[in-house]
Symmetry: C2
Subunit: 323 residues, 2 copies
């Protein structure tokens, strides 16, 4: 994929082998294979090793935490580092109860603050696991008739147990556009900030795509809604899975047709045009480097600067992951 | 949006004014405005005028079909051709009962077979209406706890009525990649066919993006899963809302790194490499021109042909919309 930069969480780290989901006895096979790697989720947190270097905790089928689970709490993720890999969704209390059988530094953690410290493939794997955990929690009952659902297709379809309904629910992804808008000269970038962010933090314009619009329609609508600026041209750059809880970030660069920041909608507290000089001097502070927002800003910055953004000594960066 | 061709259903035909959804009395205002345009959906069909030229049937607030509805069956779409526009979701039987108060040629119809005959803005409006109708039907009950939901934010959020749960459900879009793969020379295109299609019909490779993968990851995975071909580079082309029932088609062009069609997965019956000469001669038959699939094939074809695809006399085209 030489045409796109590697965004955090992106990458075919996992061989998903979708056809393996159709095997009726997939869970028995997974439990019978001593090489199967079980990844553990509790709610939106995952079991990780905190030290020496953060990584995923992989359990075997014989581990008491996995052994006690029914098959309906398992989801086949695919093959990771050559081994079959299965998501085990447990209650947080079960982890405490199994504490003695776990590595001493194992703990439940949210993915986002760990993302930059994890091996790339582990971060990608946990992004997938987190997205599926959240999705399963949101479809425990059928939205059409209210009956309970059961997991089928190795956990990738939630099926309504009411025979007269029988609706199937599939994993959900919410496409969101994120866009670096420049002025016609390319010298200034349009960044906005939310009121809940610490002072000085700005980021690119973003928002969810709505039904009935293309990505390009969504870019134009969001930029106008949030800032009153009209865009003249829109160019796709790259994409990033962003399972917080279920987004797919679709990164664009756009050139403005109008430059007046005519209004700010309720989502933003402020929006401004910033030059490279301002950014190099440390104001505004930029989002963390694991985000596609940073990548979009960096691409624009580096196209017009002899010293790349990464090597600028005074650039301000968020010290905590983006909210 | 000069950078992307206009795909059917794409285009900012509607001023959505998302902030208007927050007005608590939006439905009263809409009913009190004699200019409000009500679009009628029953299930996945919409009320259209069949003759003289197909178009949407717009009803006023006073029309008995609209008057009888409770506000919970309404969704604010936005402003269309300058007028406030509201989706009214009714039972098909209600339309029959109100037959005398409707234009003689009004009928319920699926959008897809009509798309090419509708005015562009009407097609875009109905694509949006259809997507929201389907989404609402799938979240009548809370997926977290099974309680009934109610419509809030002018029909754009379905809210769980169980106070101890209170989950909110937002409109859903399923991103799908669709890709025209060429060989390294650019002279041949990889097209596949499903067993249920009439003989001779082929189309581009497509499939849903999965959680935890970028669009580019999804392209590489789908092409390999369906044909065994590895892609070397992937380039985004354009996107298209495709509410059948809830897709967003993300069109790519890719260059193959390997050319052997090593296997065909269960989704396809056949996949082959085709030259421009074969396509110009009428084999395979191509998908309808309203689809992004056709657009992707056309872009590749025209880049290497003195006579554009549209002017080729013998090109085979599907006579019915794509299944």
């Amino acid at each position: 994929m030489a045409s796109t930069p590697a965004n955090t969480f992106a990458g075919n780290y996992l061989d998903r082998r979708a056809e393996a989901r159709d095997a009726v006895d997939w869970a028995r096979e997974a439990r019978g294979d001593s090489g199967t790697l079980f990844v553990v989720s509790a709610g939106l947190e995952q079991l990780v090793l905190a030290e020496p270097a953060p990584d995923v905790v992989f359990l075997s089928a014989e581990h008491p935490l996995v052994h006690a689970l029914d098959d309906g709490s398992l989801t086949l993720l695919g093959w990771f580092r050559g081994a079959r890999c299965v998501l085990a969704s447990v209650q947080a209390e079960a982890i405490e109860a199994a504490r003695a059988a776990l590595p001493a530094t194992a703990r439940l953690s949210e993915l986002r603050p760990l993302a930059a410290q994890l091996p790339e493939d582990s971060a990608g794997l946990l992004a997938y696991a987190r997205a599926l955990s959240y999705w399963r929690s949101r479809h425990q009952y059928c939205g059409v008739c209210g009956s309970p659902t059961i997991a089928t297709r190795a956990g990738h379809v939630l099926h309504c147990t009411n025979d007269s309904c029988g609706a199937d629910f599939f994993p959900r992804i919410d496409p969101a556009i994120i866009v670096l808008v420049t002025d016609a000269s390319g010298e200034r970038a349009l960044l906005g900030r939310q009121a809940v962010w610490p002072p000085g933090r700005y980021s690119t314009i973003a928002g969810f795509v709505e039904p009935g619009e293309s990505l390009e329609d969504g870019v134009a609508r969001e930029v106008f809604e949030e800032t009153g600026v009209r865009v003249a041209s829109v160019r796709y750059q790259s994409s990033q899975p962003w399972p917080f809880p279920s987004s797919l970030m679709l990164g664009f660069q756009a050139v403005a047709a109008s430059h007046e920041i005519a209004h700010i909608d309720g989502e933003l507290e402020d929006a401004q045009w910033f030059t490279r000089e301002q950014i190099a001097a440390g104001t505004p502070m930029l989002p963390p480097s694991a985000s596609i927002s940073y990548r979009l800003i960096e691409t624009w910055f580096n196209a017009g600067s002899a010293i790349p953004l990464e090597s600028q000594p005074n650039v301000g960066r968020w010290t905590t992951p983006r909210g």
